[in-house]
């Protein structure tokens, strides 16, 4: 690792390069793409949550002037295949409903017309006859044998089901002094990026190639899966993602059915077709995080040591299941026991289907669901033992000298000092003072509560994790998967200027900026002069099957690939300079844009002359060396291996730490929540750019806050979505976000070139439960049970009312 003292740019508050186009309205988003002869699509969607499609009559719509063609489910069935999915029996999930609809908002047909206005006019002229079927909306009811079945080919609503044991949980439960258990309900919510889904597709019937612009968060595995669904080789489908995506947060990492659907609409109509999802479509039918029911029990010693956990978690991927699901249930395998030394675990996981909208990862990808149970339960254990909730966490933390630490489930935690970070957060809040304040407040009938969550934030998903959905025996028969690779390319022009070619297509994370900072340090140059191109083009870019911006992977594997590529280029420069100066490379020093021989500053050559030679005087290069100055690195993380026969897997390859300490007060009249104090402490290794990091953490906290207090995709018992506008689906505005003290502890990761790792998802995982713990703590004297989110004022009001009635 380079000496941190030698870093001039990494770790600095360097302003973003991306801003200089976005601030003047010159960003390039998919909706900004105008192609010749481009037409516009609108989608007719199911008003029923579960129904047979008896007939679709498009006659009147076809006659409307300006309509160029209509694609129905029948066309989709004939022209494509269902998307593959890593469960034993996948449902037949096409990009459009074929003979049955399974959630409100499911696409039923696509109209292509000269304008979006005309396309939407035509939707009103399409007559669809439905025969409604019984619905199932509840997770646990969906798993019952008598529930209405969504997919006949599966025969039940259970998409995935596994039992897994780690260590000796039965023995640990026998040895326990105390068992504490709870049932926890996590809501269905999402990150609702302000830019919705967007696709522009064209098809050439002669060479049978598709060109598809979209705003997916990578090529990732989705490029392969869409090609399989379209029944074409991957190289016949060129994907292009422009420089800018208007927010993603995982919402744009699930299988993106509209890429296939609009491609088929283009193929059928012979037109280039643009489709921009509207907000109602997004909230009804795009993708949300999974809702989850968890039963969790802890086996505990009297001194507070948590010996084992036993849990059953049931996820809900809605009307179908699509990749990367069933990842919801398996993605956090390696960090299932959080920040604690818990060696025994008995897990049951189940992924079911209901008549709700489908899922995708949602910033934090089910770690918020996991920690909502674990961290609520830890507080419940502390309460039963009469221990302070901070003390029980110190008691069970992994110790600083235990890293790298292998968890019971196979996660390899790279680095951390949980005690130090947590203590810092407690100090900022002045924890003992607030415990005293709480005591006083209680005597006055006021509800003050302190909420804590201490969690481990996984970054850099290892694609192997999803194969834990299969038993070891099933895995042995299938195709193994592993890896978390990324790609970076760097080149130097004849005047010595540097350009980096990346394919991480971020959604606001500032990769162009941070790439420039890192390369500037590695080559000793000014970051202002470095240019970066970061788009996806599956024909023109070199990338890996895991490439993209999801699972906070840039700071770990992205920087590894970048540093590796840059050092390859630097090595080549040294070799050429040494050859030209007739010395060996190890005799050279690079300083101030010049190579010189050690202790002989006069014997030197400027970098730009070395660069000029590499391009203009190719025969002057060392024998056998490639001409030009260009280096690529495509690498994965070393621990990114398949699961073992005991289902242990390093499901992510670096792990940060995050804790929240939050002081709230609940107004007894209105049940409004006031935040008195909030410390959010993070250890994501080396900080690359503190300004960008602060933005990532604040954004992450705000997503967590939304999940804790406001956001939920609500449905009535008939399966109608009640939150199809931003007037009903409540995202936090600036008024809802309190002042927060954000701090960092830097424990460099030994697995990354710069010691950095992911940071932008941590607080999404910790905030929902920390807020819940604060509210539970505030209402503890009333004996209120907090086991669900979002904690709206009306929900709290009812809980208080019920508790008071019980006490009376």
């Amino acid at each position: 690792m380079p000496d941190p003292e030698a870093r001039r740019w990494v770790g600095k508050r360097y302003k973003r390069k991306e801003d200089l186009r976005l601030l003047i309205g010159e960003g390039k988003f998919v909706d900004d793409i105008q192609l010749p002869k481009m037409k516009h699509a609108a989608i007719i969607r199911s008003p029923y949550p579960h129904a047979l499609i008896k007939n679709i009559d498009t006659t009147q719509a076809e006659k409307l002037p300006g309509v160029r063609g209509i694609l129905t489910g029948q066309d989709v069935k004939e022209m494509s295949k269902p998307f593959p999915c890593g469960v034993p029996i996948p449902p037949k999930y096409y990009s459009c409903a074929v003979d049955k609809v399974r959630y409100v908002g499911e696409p039923v047909a696509v109209v292509v017309a000269d304008s979006r206005y005309i396309a939407e006019d035509a939707l009103d002229l399409i007559q669809v006859d439905y025969e409604p079927l019984p619905v199932v909306m509840d997770i646990e009811e969906a798993a019952e044998p008598d529930a209405p079945v969504l997919h006949d080919n599966i025969g039940s609503n259970i998409y995935s089901h596994r039992l897994m044991q780690y260590g000796e949980p039965a023995k640990a439960f026998e040895e326990a002094d105390l068992l504490v258990k709870g049932k926890f309900l996590f809501p269905k919510y999402g990150s609702t990026p302000i830019e919705t889904y967007a696709v522009v597709a064209s098809y050439n019937p002669v060479n049978q190639e598709f060109v598809i612009y979209n705003n997916y968060q990578g090529p990732f595995v989705n490029h392969s899966l869409v090609a399989l669904a379209l029944g074409i080789p991957e190289n016949k489908m060129r994907w292009i993602v422009p420089t800018d995506i208007g927010g993603g947060f995982g919402t744009k990492t699930g299988v993106f059915p509209y890429i296939a659907l609009i491609a088929l609409a283009s193929k059928k109509t012979g037109m280039t077709v643009k489709w921009i999802e509207d907000r109602r479509e997004h909230l009804l039918a795009s993708a949300t995080g999974t809702d989850r029911v968890t039963y969790m029990e802890a086996a505990v010693k009297r001194d507070g040591t948590i010996l084992a956990l036993k849990d059953k978690a049931m996820d809900n991927t809605g009307g179908y299941i699509r990749a990367p699901e069933p990842g919801c249930a398996y993605r956090s395998t390696g960090n299932h026991t959080g920040a604690y030394q818990i060696r025994h675990l008995d897990r049951e996981v189940m992924v079911v289907g209901t008549n709700k909208c489908l899922t995708s990862p949602n910033r934090g990808y089910t770690c918020q669901e996991l920690y909502f149970s674990v961290e609520r339960l830890v507080d419940m254990v502390a309460a039963q033992l009469g221990m302070d909730p901070a003390e029980i966490r110190f008691k069970n933390f992994i110790q600083p000298d235990q890293f790298p630490y292998t968890t019971a489930t196979g996660g390899i935690y790279d680095a951390g000092n949980y005690q130090k970070a947590f203590q810092k957060a407690l100090d900022i809040v002045d924890y003992p003072k607030w415990r005293q304040e709480q005591e006083k407040a209680r005597q006055q009938g006021r509800y003050i509560g302190i909420g804590i969550a201490t969690i481990v934030d996984p970054s850099v998903t290892n694609i192997a994790y999803v194969t834990t959905a299969l038993t070891p025996e099933q895995r042995a028969k299938g195709h193994p998967k592993s890896g978390s690779g990324e790609s970076m390319t760097i080149k130097m022009d004849p005047l010595g200027q540097v350009h980096v070619i990346a394919c991480t297509n971020p959604q606001g994370q500032g990769h162009e900026t941070v790439i420039s900072q890192i390369v500037a340090d590695e080559l000793g140059i000014d970051p202002d002069g470095i240019t970066v191109s970061n788009v996806v083009d599956t024909h023109d870019r070199v990338y890996t099957i895991t490439t993209g911006s999801y699972s906070s992977r840039f700071a770990s594997v992205g920087t590894n690939a970048l540093v590796n590529a840059t050092r390859k280029l630097k090595d080549k420069l040294f070799k050429i300079a040494a050859h030209l100066l007739e010395v060996s490379p190890d005799e050279l020093v690079l300083e101030n844009q010049k190579f010189h021989v050690k202790d002989q500053p006069e014997k030197s050559i400027a970098v730009r002359h070395v660069a000029g030679t590499a391009h203009w005087h190719q025969t002057a290069l060392p024998e056998g060396m490639d001409v030009g100055l260009f280096a690529s690195s495509l690498i994965t993380m070393p621990t990114s291996k398949p699961p073992d026969e005991l289902d242990r897997v390093d499901s992510s390859n670096t792990y940060g730490f995050c804790c929240e300490v939050i002081v709230v007060e609940i107004d007894p009249e209105t049940c409004e929540i006031k935040f008195h104090k909030w410390a959010s402490m993070h250890d994501s290794g080396t900080v690359l750019n503190p300004m960008i990091l602060e933005g990532q953490v604040m954004g992450s906290i705000t997503h967590g806050l939304g999940g804790a207090l406001y956001e939920e995709f609500a449905y009535d018992e008939n399966g109608q979505c009640l939150t199809a506008s931003f007037q009903d689906y409540l995202c936090p505005t600036s008024m809802e976000v309190p002042d927060i003290d954000i701090g960092h502890v830097e424990t460099p990761s030994p697995f990354t070139a710069l010691g950095s790792k992911g940071a932008g998802e941590a607080s999404c995982e910790s905030v929902p439960v920390a807020v819940a713990n604060a509210i539970a703590d505030a209402l503890a004297p009333l004996g209120v049970v907090i086991n669900e989110l979002p904690l709206t004022p009306s929900k709290i009001w009812h809980l208080i009312k019920e508790a008071k009635a019980k006490q009376a």
Binding site: K15, R16, E18, D19, L20, R21, L22, L23, I24, G25, E26, G27, F29, D31, D32, Q34, P65, G66, Y117, S191, T192, P193, I194, E195, T196, D244, I245, G246, G247, G248, F249, I276, D278, R279, R280, Q507, G508, Q509, G510, M691, I692, E694, G695, V697, M698, G699, S700, I701, T702, H703, S725, F726, Q727, C731, T733, S734, M735, V737, I740
Partner: protein, 159 residues
């Protein structure tokens, strides 16, 4: 096809005369007819604020207006804030204080802030927070947006 209606308006200082369908949204007119792609559509029901522009100096949501309603008006969109290579102080402040991430809501944030700072050149932090509360941002958590608005106020006061 509905009958088209003639409109005249000035956008970012440039006169425009043309014909539009009466039902065409102002935002679609700006993006499609005038090719001013900097104004973004986030919700089409007037809640998210991404499509905010200035109409005769007042911040309006261009997804809630028809193009014909802007007949005779003077409009400023995101493309009209900077003077050539010289960023407006509000843009400078957003750059300096990381007031944007993905940039999709940014045009709405900037023009909302512009109207606010014209009306209230010396705001308190709480006032700035309230002023941008009608623009949804899913990236920033708003803190650095508020920092940016406060910094812009400071610069503009000294100009």
């Amino acid at each position: 096809m509905a009958q088209r209606q003639r409109i005249n308006l000035k956008v970012n200082g440039v006169e425009y005369e043309g014909e539009v369908e009466p039902r065409k949204l102002l935002v679609d007119f700006l993006r499609e007819d005038l090719e001013l792609l900097g104004t973004h559509v986030g919700c089409e029901h007037g809640v998210c604020g991404a499509c905010t522009i200035l109409l005769n100096g007042k911040a309006v949501r261009s997804c809630l207006m028809l193009a014909v309603q802007a007949d005779g008006a003077e409009l400023t969109t995101i493309e009209g804030l900077a003077q050539g290579a010289q960023l407006h102080p509000i843009q400078e402040a957003f750059h300096e204080h990381h007031g944007l991430q993905c940039g999709f809501c940014t045009p709405g944030m900037l023009l909302t802030s512009h109207e606010f700072l014209q009306e209230n050149p010396s705001p308190t932090r709480e006032e700035a927070k309230k002023a941008i509360s009608g623009v949804l941002c899913r990236c920033t958590g708003y803190k650095q947006v508020i920092d940016s608005v406060m910094a812009a106020a400071e610069t503009m006061k000294n100009e």
